[in-house]
Symmetry: C2
Subunit: 715 residues, 2 copies
């Protein structure tokens, strides 16, 4: 940790020797970066927003086993440049994304170490900073082993953090909101253990880390383009309010195996005095490489239902075909299974899901528990858990393929790997070919448990390469990937847009396992979603439910029914599940209409209101359509959302359908109270809509017909 | 280590309570096994040969993290049975193999531990003992983690060992011959380091371990059917002359991850008072599972030459296409390579090899250095070293396929993995499909360096499963496998006979890197070869040679030219290389004739003379032919081999061609002196043939024509 008294020297040097300081302004001038060398030759950066310090002087550097790249530097060269382009993502929140930054490239060398050279490249956008280390080819270094990355993020005070605990294996924690000085204790209280978590070896939090400063600035620290490197946690110094990089090691304690030329992922710091700008920021995507796939025509945003929720809630549905495993331990003999009668992934039942999807315009049906292995899938213990081309006897792949095809519905494949990535790679080509042969074009992967190869954690370098390998290989077979329990995303979906979604956070499934707090989805868009879309699995209408297996007391989702609708807009993803059981949708067909209608890909988005942990209101235009959808959510505090329709084209009239919390709605006591009304608006209209405790509002908008203009009132 | 004073108690108990001792005799009665429980409930076995103690009472047991399976046992059941069958290997030293043993199955349970049950199954053959642990399905155990296998092999005195040092990564050591009490020091002196060796954590030697007792008995300790378990080294107690199992750990210190029901590999102890019986023993194969491949018609024993030796000797030939890597470090840009002009794996040069093979009836040509990666293949450092479907620009796969096909010659693929087994599995299907598409049906795999997955050693459980995975997947593509730097074999080639050979010992290549001692090949058939065939690469005619890269002083193979011929018979393998350069064979066409003629698959074998480390004389009948080949070799001591032709059918006359060391031959000073003579023999003939220092004799035999009977003299 870079000490405060040294910092003072640096600041002093910065003043005394102006020639040494290199400065960079963002395009609009609001952000300013300063880079200097301290008296030990340590590169130090600081960041200012509208004249206010955001990051105090903070050291840069990497300690390799083979080379200490943290001090003894001189600046060989510092070059400024500017870049401005607009690109079009395959899918996303915006049809067009502007990538506009000023760049400062600082070339450093170590005169006492044979002029070893390191470049730090800074890109300053209007909404934040990205920087990375680059090691060009050079005579005196080739293979390197990362001992520690020493990047600091020294903040200015006892700010509020929205964070989850550092862990090498999982991100599926509830969020803690607390001042830096109190976060340790608050986080401990809030910790919900998972079996395979591997706590970091020091006091750390995960990125994306959302911060609100004591002065009201919003900061988000994360990384972009995590390729061939281990994921970054942040060490927390809760006395000095300093943060520093904590790379995920492998189990041998190594933090990365590198070869020159190389660059690290980008370290990112978004900054704004308006929380909405954090949500709107495309900085992470901008720092990723452009799409590497030539043909993306086969990548299709979609909604899906799934044979899934019934395994979490009450009815006793199991992924396993039999109850064999309950009777006796030992290797399962799959030739001798007796059906247990409560295995939902059976041909007949899946047909019902296909029917429901077809009737309601849902694109696809996910089926979990279709393949052999669920009786005996302990992670870390077995060399092979699942075969990915071996269905259970009651799951007729060919018949279902034909049936789904006849109904215009896709089936989504499920590949639970039990975290045996090694064996998944073994089977990958066979598995993908099996998918292609049977008409599947999307796969949900899972990595529940401790990783094999046994040297690895979920977020260590080898595994990060594994996830990308799977996505790239999937692209060869024109398969879209939705990875669960993988490393949290860093915008790589720009480069490989068939990586349509990830879980990598505490998703909707936890509503059946302890519940998600009312503020949970008011934080996720500020944190987890900055890396890319989440397969959150919204749409739980029956919010009061049984726990997993029905064996524990009943639980409850932490939202109103309407808030579940709003999540389809506040949690943008090209892959959206309607997570509840068809029967529950049949009970509320008018509310389900919103899920049927809502888009999953967007031309434009307008963040109307936002405060991390408190509320989010956003409007979006469906890609290529004159249709808009609005979602607003709040935490446990009821509030009134203010929705100006100024994003609509002027001079026309629009019919809106408002799915609102009922007047007596309350997430705990009356979650299913809702009220649907229609009315006419123009771009000048403003709606003030009350939201219940942990409630929301979901609104669809389209041009009004003449009849509607006549028949409907103003909203 | 089981203590001697405890042993005395056991022996006493054994006498006092005869009812507790369980006894088993070998079919011919020469071997006797005793199994008892000691006072602590430890199962203890001892082994006798013709009334003489071979193994003193030695403990059995496994310590699991979840269960101590080493004591507190009672004997639930002890069952004797007998088994006798004759089976036909796909290839091998014998057309028919008799598998004849008496079996004792001892079922043990731990009354104080919920009756945890362990079975020890003993199979006593006339030539030795095999036993293994079995854990049947049971309520109180399921997943287990091996902490230590406690099997002891307590020998009776300060016997002579023929051994190599214990290592988790490599077997490529020179042998040490020394008494137990002196082996530690002698082995240290003899140690030739390899870069990726991982010495065992205690004083250990490897198996197969050959032993000659102070009383003149021959013992060999090894294991059979190493599947889903880590390879066994032997701890050496050089004071008490006791040995015990030392399982290879992974790098996290775990020695195996198991699930019930399970059995361990067989622990084997061959015993004879005649060294020839150790060589002839098929005990290891008999303890392996029968062939699991339905169709084996595509598995073809073969001889091959290779673009290979020129990279070891003098001329500067490189696996790499360019000298790029010499100029600068850093990731190699394969789009920008400049040919170095000394890359032997080029189309034109390979055509010459194909021509030579076709002209001389050699089945195949191995080509190493054909694919991108050799400029930059550091093991352990990179996520990907080689692509297995990406030839260098000067290697025209399609043209060579067509050319080889037109000449009736096969090309053998080379897959050097740089020990990145993880990435090899990633590419395996693509690699094998590429082979099939291009007419390859054999692959030589290589695992030079430190293993990725980084948790693994070459001989740890995960890697042992990896090698088998590759062999099984290869079988799906009808591909034969010759693995180099893999775990030493344990007879699995019976079960998967497309696993035609392995290296897994110090092979002929070391003649160019320090040399192999004159006794080396007089030991290998007693040790390494007991597990299965070795791709030793014999046939070095130009025994005086330059070292690797031509940059070091000249070296010399440790044999005469004729001994190199004899190795084709003394080192049986269905895959035999003629390892020298075609030009060197052209210089000695008469001697090369033996390599052209010699068979690689056998109907029968007769070990005529043998003493470990000193000499071996063996005759074999070519499979399905009236042709015989004889090989005799000696260590540094000249000797006269005595060869009775009694293995020949009676009453006929045979013409023999004797490839003998010249009278003045000497491996060091005059290795290329040889003398070829022909003559007539019958089954009553006996040849007494002098062998030079580290010399040999190679003899081919076939029925004589009438003209030959007239024209040739008696031998």
């Amino acid at each position: 940790m870079y000490m405060k008294h040294v910092l003072l020297t640096v600041v002093f040097l910065g003043i005394a020797c102006v020639a040494m300081a290199h400065e960079l302004l963002s395009p609009n001038g609001n952000l300013k970066l300063n880079v200097v060398l301290d008296s030990e030759g340590v590169p130090v950066y600081s960041l200012y927003y509208k004249g206010e310090t955001v990051v105090e002087p903070s050291a840069l550097g990497i300690l390799m086993e083979e080379a200490d790249l943290s001090n003894g530097f001189r600046i060989l060269d510092a070059t400024n440049s500017t870049f401005d382009e607009t690109w079009m993502p395959v899918w996303g929140e915006y049809e067009k994304v502007r990538n506009h930054y000023n760049e400062l490239t600082v070339t450093l060398s170590q005169p006492a170490k044979h002029d070893r050279t390191m470049i730090v490249r800074f890109r300053l956008f209007d909404d934040g900073l990205g920087f990375r280390y680059e090691l060009p080819e050079q005579k005196t270094m080739n293979y390197l082993t990362v001992k520690d990355e020493l990047t600091e993020f020294n903040l200015t005070g006892n700010h509020t953090l929205y964070c989850i605990p550092g862990d090498y294996d999982t991100n599926e924690f509830a969020y803690t909101t607390a001042a830096v000085s109190e976060v340790r204790e608050a986080m401990e209280r809030n910790l919900r253990k998972k079996g395979y978590e591997a706590k970091a070896t020091s006091f750390t939090v995960q990125t994306p880390l959302m911060i609100k400063t004591t002065e009201g600035l919003y900061i988000n620290i994360h990384e972009a383009a995590l390729v061939d490197y281990s994921a970054m946690l942040l060490n927390v110094d809760d006395k000095e309010f300093n943060f520093s990089a904590h790379l995920t090691p492998d189990k041998l304690g190594k933090k990365g195996y590198l070869q020159l030329p190389l660059h690290t992922p980008w370290r990112t710091i978004m900054v704004s005095d308006d929380a909405r700008n954090i949500l709107a920021s495309q900085l992470i995507l901008n720092l990723n490489e452009p799409c590497k796939l030539e043909d993306t025509s086969w990548i299709k945003p979609q909604k899906f239902i799934g044979v899934w929720w019934e395994m979490f809630t009450g009815g006793g549905g199991t992924w396993a075909y039999s109850d064999y495993y309950k009777a006796k331990p030992g290797i399962t003999d799959y030739s001798k299974l007796t059906p247990n009668g409560h295995h939902p992934a059976n041909t007949e039942h899946v047909r019902e899901y296909i029917d429901f999807a077809a009737e309601n315009g849902i694109d696809a049906v996910l089926v979990e528990g279709w393949n052999e292995g669920w009786e005996d899938w302990a992670s870390y213990r077995k060399d092979r858990q699942f075969l990915f081309d071996k269905p259970y006897p009651d799951f007729d792949v060919a018949a279902l393929h034909a049936y789904a095809k006849s109904k215009g519905v896709k089936i989504i494949m499920h590949h639970e790997t039990a975290a045996n990535a090694a064996d998944y790679e073994r089977q990958l080509d066979v598995a993908f070919q099996f998918m292609v042969d049977n008409g599947y074009n999307s796969v949900k992967t899972g990595y529940v448990g401790s990783i094999i190869p046994r040297s690895e954690y979920h977020s260590s370098q080898w595994m990060n390469n594994h996830y990308i390998h799977v996505v790239k290989r999937a692209a060869d077979y024109k398969i879209m990937v939705d990875s669960h329990e993988a490393v949290r995303p860093t915008g790589l979906c720009r480069t490989w847009p068939n990586w349509v979604a990830q879980e990598s956070a505490r998703g909707g499934e936890f509503e059946s396992m302890g519940g998600n707090d009312p503020d949970h989805t008011c934080i996720l868009p500020f944190t987890r979603l900055k890396g890319g879309p989440m397969d959150y699995t919204p749409g739980i209408f029956q919010t009061k439910l049984s726990y997993y297996n029905g064996s524990k007391p009943k639980g409850q989702a932490g939202t109103t029914l309407v808030k579940q609708l709003a999540l389809y807009v506040t949690m943008p993803s090209p892959l959206q599940m309607a997570a509840d059981l068809p029967d529950n949708y049949r009970r509320f067909p008018d509310a389900f209409q919103f899920i049927k209608d809502v888009a999953v890909d967007w031309s434009n988005s307008w963040y109307l209101e936002a405060e991390p942990g408190d509320y989010i209101t956003v409007a979006r235009q469906a890609k290529g359509k004159q249709e808009w959808y609005i979602g607003a959510i709040t935490d446990e505090h009821p509030r009134t959302a203010t929705i100006p329709f100024s994003f609509l084209p002027e001079g026309r009239k629009y019919v809106v359908t408002v799915y609102a919390d009922g007047r007596d709605a309350d997430w705990k006591d009356n979650p299913q109270s809702y009220d649907i009304r229609r009315g006419i608006v123009t771009s000048k209209s403003v709606l003030r809509q009350p939201l219940a405790s942990s409630g929301g509002v979901a609104i669809s908008v389209r041009e009004a017909t003449k009849e509607e203009v006549k028949g409907l009132k103003k909203l």
